[in-house]
Symmetry: C2
Subunit: 209 residues, 2 copies
């Protein structure tokens, strides 16, 4: 009666859900900037609530971390699927590799808070949580590897490449953009993606004979 839970499935978002979201956004931003050990009090303040209130929405730091990392990978997967789906039927395997690289780079350069938080925090978590997220990272890696293998199979790649290594190298270049790139007048995210594609694709594709 007095609360909105009855209608939350319709369109509006319950107050609770909204606050929870603000906390997650703040957490992503601060994890990104300060790493795993950020003070929860700072997260609370950035979200406009008091420290104690965090615990109504999350069990503690690791619960928060878990959620931020999950959302990051979810967004990434969606973005990759979307880029691939937009390709015309005539797209070659190398076009599909290109699309995947663009998707990854867009995440890192534009949606960046969750993505950059993921980049910075995933490497230092451990235990059960690590195992769980590791699997998602693996799956993403395997998708890209499959795309590379298809391109190789049809002769679009330079001979002699070690595909898993190549994959980690360009994913590293992308991940690292979170540490140095900030949007500005001189360089748009698109211009960085363009340079990335030039270097990586011309570096790995078979020379025209």
């Amino acid at each position: 009666m007095k609360n909105s839970t009855k209608v939350k499935n319709l369109k509006s978002i319950s107050k609770s859900e909204e606050t929870r979201q603000r906390i997650l956004d703040a957490a992503a931003r601060l994890f990104r900037k300060q790493g795993y050990s950020v003070r929860l009090a700072d997260v609370a303040e950035a979200a406009g609530v008091k420290t104690g209130s965090l615990y109504y929405h999350f069990k503690g730091r690791d619960d928060l971390v878990d959620e931020v990392l999950s959302l990051a990978m979810e967004k990434l997967d969606q973005c990759v699927q979307q880029e691939l789906a937009l390709l015309p039927d005539s797209a070659t395997p190398l076009d599909r590799v290109k699309a995947a690289i663009i998707a990854d780079a867009k995440m890192a350069l534009e949606v960046s808070d969750y993505s950059a938080a993921n980049t910075r925090i995933f490497p230092i978590i451990s235990g059960e949580m690590r195992k769980r997220h590791y699997i998602r990272h693996q799956k993403h890696g395997e998708l890209i590897n499959a795309l590379l293998e298809e391109a190789e199979a049809v002769g679009q790649l330079r001979p002699g490449l070690d595909l898993p290594t190549i994959r980690m190298l360009f994913l590293g270049a992308i991940a690292w953009t979170g540490e140095w790139y900030r949007p500005n007048r001189e360089r748009s995210p698109e211009s960085v993606i363009e340079q990335l594609l030039t270097m990586v694709l011309l570096g790995i594709q078979a020379p025209r004979k």
Copy 2:
């Protein structure tokens, strides 16, 4: 008389110096694995001393961080200078770019603890210490940029590259190896460097006409 300070400049290393070194190595290893907020008690234990003893050698966490980051950059600079010095006089500007990339990659893939700690920790420090280390990073970046510009000036680079962006992209690929690469039977550091050089150099060099 009773201690070794009198002779420490000759050849032997004083006990103090040796312990200090063990602490630094342990710190580099743990900063690398767990990031800035590692517990100093863990560092002490890894170095084989008790927590209290740390404070005889270092003022506190930031003193330790400062030293680890400084050593990392020192080793890197040395390594770059050495690779460049080994080049024959006939080396082209692009050869010099290649040498610099190899030096950076060697640091990341082989000497890795200090280098990887630097990679992980530099982005999250702030204040006066950040400013100091930022300058060293800048200087290193400018050196590489200069090498790239020389290669561009003599027409060895593909037209249309944004050199600072290209630099950050391949340095990112290198930095990120610290997060995934571990030496093993299948892939030597050299083999990773070979793949890196293939992708980056063939990606940026001017096509043969």
